[in-house]
Amino acid sequence: MLRACRRLLRPGGRIGFYTIVEAPGLPAAARRRARAAGPWAAAMRSDHHRLLAAAGFRGVTELDVTPAFAATAAAWLAETEPHTAELARLEPPGAFAHRQADRRRMLAAVHSGLLRRVLLLARTNEGRVTGSQFGGHLWLRRHPTVVRTRSRPAP
């Protein structure tokens, strides 16, 4: 995906993403626990610096936002628990309980030092950012419209 992002960016383009990662230097058993506790929809990676460099990005910066991550996970739990019955009714059976369990598991893993959340920033090679140049792209509509597209393999 990073290579695809690189291709889409103009010279001087920037990438920034928050991601949950396993803490560095964990022994194998702890790594397995970290991955089990991590977000189910994301592939846990711990080698973003290498991946970004391999994709052609430069100037990689990493900011640790783990304390804010723990605070936000705890806040979701604290704010939603009093409204469990009402919130659960808005979703398919079991979905709300499943998400709460995910949050508790991740929060416990953060407190155990297994998981971190970081902001990664990088840019393409230096060059003038050409600025907004609209028009000519099939996918861009004047008014927001949900457009189905056929997926194609990343280059």
Binding site: M1, A4, C5, R7, L8, L9, R10, P11, G12, G13, R14, I15, G16, F17, Y18, T19, I20, V21, P39, A41, A42, A43, R45, T61, L63, V65, A68, F69, T72, W76, E79, H83, E86, L87, L90, E91, P92, A95, R117, L119, V129, G131, S132, Q133, F134, H137, W139, L140, R142, H143, P144, T145, V146, V147, R148, T149, S151, R152, P153, A154
Partner: protein, 138 residues
Amino acid sequence: MTVRDEAQARARFQERYGATPSRVARRIEQRVIGGDWGANGYTTMAQADTLARELGLSAADRLLDLGTGRGWPGLYLADRTGCAVVLTDLPLEGLRVAASRAASEGLAARTGVVAAAASGLPFRANSFDAVIHTDVLC
């Protein structure tokens, strides 16, 4: 992420985004995230502001938000910085909410909404000034 994982993720988020947020849910999001842009993860308003600052987003930029869900944080960043934004994700339910919010916020003219997988982005090379994503498909 395997094809099966991706299908499961899509189905789960589709269900979640299909539900209309209640007043309680909006109030909770306001207290946890700091805004009411349809956030359901761990990126707070302050962290979205950090993204805007660190990426130097401005009205001259075209931003791509991958895995946008209901449009968070891409729509907020477009509103805050004046940039144009293209929002992508797979669950159509979330994208419909995002498109509606773009219209109600007066962001329609500089918002694109595209259903596409991160593994097969249907855009030409050199189309964007910045790309973001938050806790998805890393």
